[in-house]
Symmetry: C2
Subunit: 235 residues, 2 copies
DNA sequence: ACCTGAACACCGTTCAAGT
DNA sequence: ACCTGAACACCGTTCAAGT
């Protein structure tokens, strides 16, 4: 936890788009999606709403910029130079996004909103590029680049979002509860489903307990990677 | 387009949770996500806000119920009995969701919100079950059920959402524009990206033009299916 | 060019009161 | 048990006015 913000805030430096975005990210991290309002943002920045609107068109653009800033940071990770193999490269990018979503739970919903409402914005190319480079390096034929890259991209974002929800769910259970405890409760709920309507889900519920999320996440990536590396069946 | 709603509405039958949800879906389809407000909902249902709150806890629950209703309808499709193979079964479920998202564009964002904010709600098991049954029928070892099913689920939802965004994008371009025109404009924008930062995306941009979305969507599924059917590399 | 802050239109939700 | 509708707290956004 960071040190408490002083009651009265003097503006440290001139207002700028960057400072507004940084404040937005901090607010999202601290107070969640519903905590980001122009009222508290103006308070934190010691200014009026009009000043913010001078630098940013509206709330949507602000959310998009906050998302882009965090994603840019996340996909930039290749700790210690280039990866051993393209497969390792995909895993590194995937884990970078996985961790970013875990640290900024609002990112999951926001990423989904960006991809589905504004897929031609800056966020999609950023993720697409960092995964696609590895796909190309894997020797996938050019005609399959887009398909392979988006299959990986969609899985990574979806699975990472699911994981973030588990973190949040555990937090909601109480300060003492950990993730295993939460997954147990979900698993228990799924085992209560109607046996006629949900036979598979009931049978699979047990697998949720005690597995490592990170390991499971990477296992899913390996599924896709092995399908991408092998030639798909001719149509 | 349906016949115009008469200016003055008399309540046809008693208010019920079902009628409220149906009105919400209709409103979302017609006016989009921002069009669903309690004001216009009370107007359409010829009632007051208190009456709605008697049947529904809050707006979030209403959105969840609307999403669940449409999803239940979408995954129920197995036209003409059982599929020829489990692989065909997966494709059928996937296309059911693909079409549902195309018909109800708000579903994409809403599905993402449900999966990431409330993954233990009724929506996730519904999709998980319908895909998982096919996975089990494919002879995937039980230890891989969860991983394989969620890899497929996340890809389907992500790619379908992307497609819905393309439909919306084309619509936003103007009434005369079709999807190909819109994809051309996205492709052109991506080709303008910085060559140093986005070499892969620029090279892949051309693949976006003139491909069939449905075919591309199914190709992605085949990638995952072929990875799921083959045993993954031992860890 | 950049910022102020009161004002506006609108939203989800509540609740005392009715039937 | 179910519904009414005025009222409340709060939100994003605008804009005339300042520097």
């Amino acid at each position: 936890m960071a040190t408490r913000t002083p009651r009265t805030r003097r503006r440290a430096e001139a207002l700028s788009r960057e400072r507004i975005i940084a404040a937005a990210v901090e607010l999202l991290d601290t107070a969640g999606e519903s905590g980001l309002t122009f009222r508290v943002l103006t308070e934190r920045l010691a200014t009026g709403p009009g000043a913010i609107y001078w630098h940013v068109a509206n709330k949507g653009e602000l959310l998009g910029a906050a998302t882009d800033a965090v994603v840019a940071d996340a996909v930039a990770v290749t700790p210690g130079g280039s990866p051993d193999s393209p497969q390792e490269g995909v895993r590194a990018v995937a884990l970078g996004l996985f961790d970013a979503i875990e640290q900024h739970p609002w990112l999951a919903t926001q990423l989904a909103a960006q991809l589905s409402r504004n897929p031609w914005g800056p966020v999609t190319p950023r993720i697409f590029e960092s995964i696609g480079r590895q796909v190309r390096a894997m020797g996938v034929p050019e005609s399959d680049w887009t398909t392979a890259t988006s299959a990986l991209m969609h899985y990574v974002l979806g699975a990472a979002a699911q994981n973030a929800a588990n973190v949040e769910g555990a937090r909601a259970l109480g300060p003492g509860a950990d993730r295993a405890e939460f997954l147990d409760s979900v698993s228990a709920a799924w085992e209560e489903l109607d046996p006629d309507e949900y036979p598979f889900t009931r049978a699979a519920a047990d697998q949720m307990r005690g597995h490592d999320d990170r390991e499971q996440f990477l296992a899913g990536i390996d599924f896709i990677l092995s399908g991408v590396t092998a030639r798909p069946p001719a149509p």
